[in-house]
Symmetry: C2
Amino acid sequence: MMGLMQDRPLLISGLLDYAERYHGDAEIVSRTCEGTVLRGNYRMLADRARRMAQALQRLGVKAGDRVATLAWNTHRHMELYFAVSGLGAVLHTVNPRLFQDQIAYIVDHGGCNVLLFDISFADLVAGLRPRLPQVTTFVAMTDADHMPASVEGALCYDALVAAEDGRFAWPQFDERSASSLCYTSGTTGNPKGVLYTHRSTVLHSFVVCQADGLQLSSKDSTLLVVPLFHVNAWGVPYASAMCGAKLVLPGPAPDPKTLFDLAVAEGCTFSLGVPTVWLGWFKYLDETAGLDLAALKLNRVVIGGSAAPRYVIERFQKQGVFVIHAWGMSETSPLATVGNLLPRHAGLSPTEQVDVQVKQGRAIFGVELRIVDDQGNELPHDGTVAGDLQVRGPWVTAGYFRSEGGAVVGPDGWFSTGDVAKVFPDGFLQLTDRSKDVIKSGGEWISSIDLENAAMAHPAVQEAAVIGVAHPKWQERPLLLVVRKPGTDPRPEDILAALAERVAKWWLPDEVVFVEELPHTATGKLQKVKLREQFRNHVLPGA
Amino acid sequence: MMGLMQDRPLLISGLLDYAERYHGDAEIVSRTCEGTVLRGNYRMLADRARRMAQALQRLGVKAGDRVATLAWNTHRHMELYFAVSGLGAVLHTVNPRLFQDQIAYIVDHGGCNVLLFDISFADLVAGLRPRLPQVTTFVAMTDADHMPASVEGALCYDALVAAEDGRFAWPQFDERSASSLCYTSGTTGNPKGVLYTHRSTVLHSFVVCQADGLQLSSKDSTLLVVPLFHVNAWGVPYASAMCGAKLVLPGPAPDPKTLFDLAVAEGCTFSLGVPTVWLGWFKYLDETAGLDLAALKLNRVVIGGSAAPRYVIERFQKQGVFVIHAWGMSETSPLATVGNLLPRHAGLSPTEQVDVQVKQGRAIFGVELRIVDDQGNELPHDGTVAGDLQVRGPWVTAGYFRSEGGAVVGPDGWFSTGDVAKVFPDGFLQLTDRSKDVIKSGGEWISSIDLENAAMAHPAVQEAAVIGVAHPKWQERPLLLVVRKPGTDPRPEDILAALAERVAKWWLPDEVVFVEELPHTATGKLQKVKLREQFRNHVLPGA
């Protein structure tokens, strides 16, 4: 029997309508590519988003069309978040930090006719243009005074906005319609597109605003460090509209000084970013005399993207800032687990609290997760056994754009994340490796990440990578590759001795090889696939 | 273009699965009808709900069947919340405080074959039985030692649970399936059933857990005063499972002493109830010597059902408890507006904060609201003009069970609440009357509630009611009916003089009539329809 509740769709435009009506004065502060700081609010966002939607329609954009952006965190990019999706079109946020080949591939694979870009990327766009045959309209996200000369025929964003009257009612449609598209920056193969829906986006926003989620509320001022081109900026643009949180957009390539000054000036209480950002932040704090740390109002910082280092959690703790360690991926919108303390953790010492916080948190309602072995059998959540991490839920992908990668979800809906993890009995998740990087030795799994972390603790190790190399008896055994710190000359046995204090004996690498450098992706991840190729025929001692 | 997110349904069983896995140890404390206090948790709830689902299936309950309860807030009723809906059947919570005629009508209209009842209601059920021809199975919600003799052939709830093994996987189905049924206790006509869905229930739960909603979290211990038979206990049973909040169920007919003792003993931080409960609560506090108020850990209390009196808000404020004034109705699941303070209210004095809190709050995301005039034209949100309040959204009713009352929603989805309200520019709602009670005088509206509140301020007035009476010139004019306080003998002109200090001159009632008593519904609401009948041919002075 069907119930008798109204069948109103969950739409991104509903978030904007709500913000305009109930939080119209809540501020959106934008550091622009023109070098100014613009003080706007949700009323202005809503008005300009409607005008931009009208302009996009006039440019021929229809429901379902993909519209690409190459842009920083500014008010204009935020407007496009609502204008494009609100229209029923699909916002395709392209990461400008990728290699040009990848950018060209991603824009082209997305099938976009319209590309909007920040003026910082004008030369990039001009260079890419011959490789973007489908793009017929280029829009420079700026005003008439700052139009770049390099992209011939480009339209001016602010002129497009000014030409419309904003009398536009957002269309209503199926909440499972596509709303946005993000490509994963895989370490192997072509990037793959994750196609979000209005439903998944609104549901995900609820979690960001939950008291046991990221607690985003109208009382917050958010320093949005995570880029708008990085998995929907972790859902914050939408969730901010849902609750009317003040939003601070730090603009083009913000350095730690810019972020710090904005945080102080705008009374920021909340921020989000990858670990690298916060390493730079503390470096800046340490190196800069006369900073007024007491002027900072931050009370919590979300760290994701890669594991939050203990050091960063501790530093923030000392400043009264709680680090919410979260885990997710493009395929999970991205929030899947969130590391809040539970009531029973309240009495813990600061160090013990950090012990909890270094784990990746617990699944939020809506995301189911499990770990499985090689045969797909479910493994216990005992905090000891590690397995392939699988997730499912209404904001988890069912497949990639244009069926790239084939069927990625089993009949029961589980999506394999490609991560290896343990789950503790209380639900806390601890990632131990990427599935393809784990070393399978004699039927047991060895975590390459754990070994790398242990090696990094040696004072002479600048960077470390561990890969599995074929072994006649054990199937695979670990090989440790080390970049030495300049001016040091450790012996392999020194490093192995240091490791032996931190890992089980059978985990110890069979060999240590010193290298000059290690290969990385555009986003800074170790390219282990290259290393495995390079050492494919390497013979370990005793093998 | 459809997106590529997983199409997993939002189901009530998902809330329970989540609570069991991630908050299994979080407590559910139940004061039972057998006179004990049972300490359970979500793990036990999940286990017993699965067993009860098996038992219900064995009794022939199928998806879509309605299952009725006549029960207090205990662990067993909470189990049925999940067992019945989880199965795909419909939980029909009947208010045992209604008149017997209404109970018989509601159970019969619901078409229930199974009725589960607390032993406190055994005699009531035995008396009603001849009028419940469709009910073939009666289940006493108790253990073997407390089976009531009066309901012959009744099954024993705990025996049913014990006979099953709990190996039961919740079925998956369309999230728009009916989950529960509540009848409105209208002041006119037959009660009408609101048929909730799994989707509406889960979406509503998100709002209860939002930082800008009711902020329910795993850190809370909730004293659930609002009955489980009163509009899904305002959604708290479901939302508690979503976030793992501790739940304290105060059992049969709790008096203020019971509530106070439970609140202290269980460290309750959060509670919800109608104004009457809190008037009784403060009366108890005032009359009881030696209470340790410092032992109370309450930090916020939700008041709804009818307007929260200023006095109650102020009393709580003095104790450091924030009153969240909320408005909603059975037809809105019930949360529609929530009265949280905004950042700009932070600097207000306590009295000014109460000025904000006496309003009914602002619409939560998901609920759209507007006010309209007699012709359906939208009125401004200027805090001055009052109009008929209409709402729409995914947890607002689209119509009543068995099409009772006909089409209640217009083509654009607006549901007329039957309330008259003003909306202030900042979105705060202030209810001024029920639509059918408002007095339409010369094309303008006069609020009967405002007049009643003003009259109640006179020291000799025990109770007051204002109704519109036909008037040849003005269409309607107000008539004030007053029950005098014992031992007082005010003159009509004294009361009108007092009113004149509080309301516009043209609002002043044309006549004051003293009566011995005023008629009320079973739930304590003034029955103005009876008064209007009684005074239908009354001729006002000067008319």
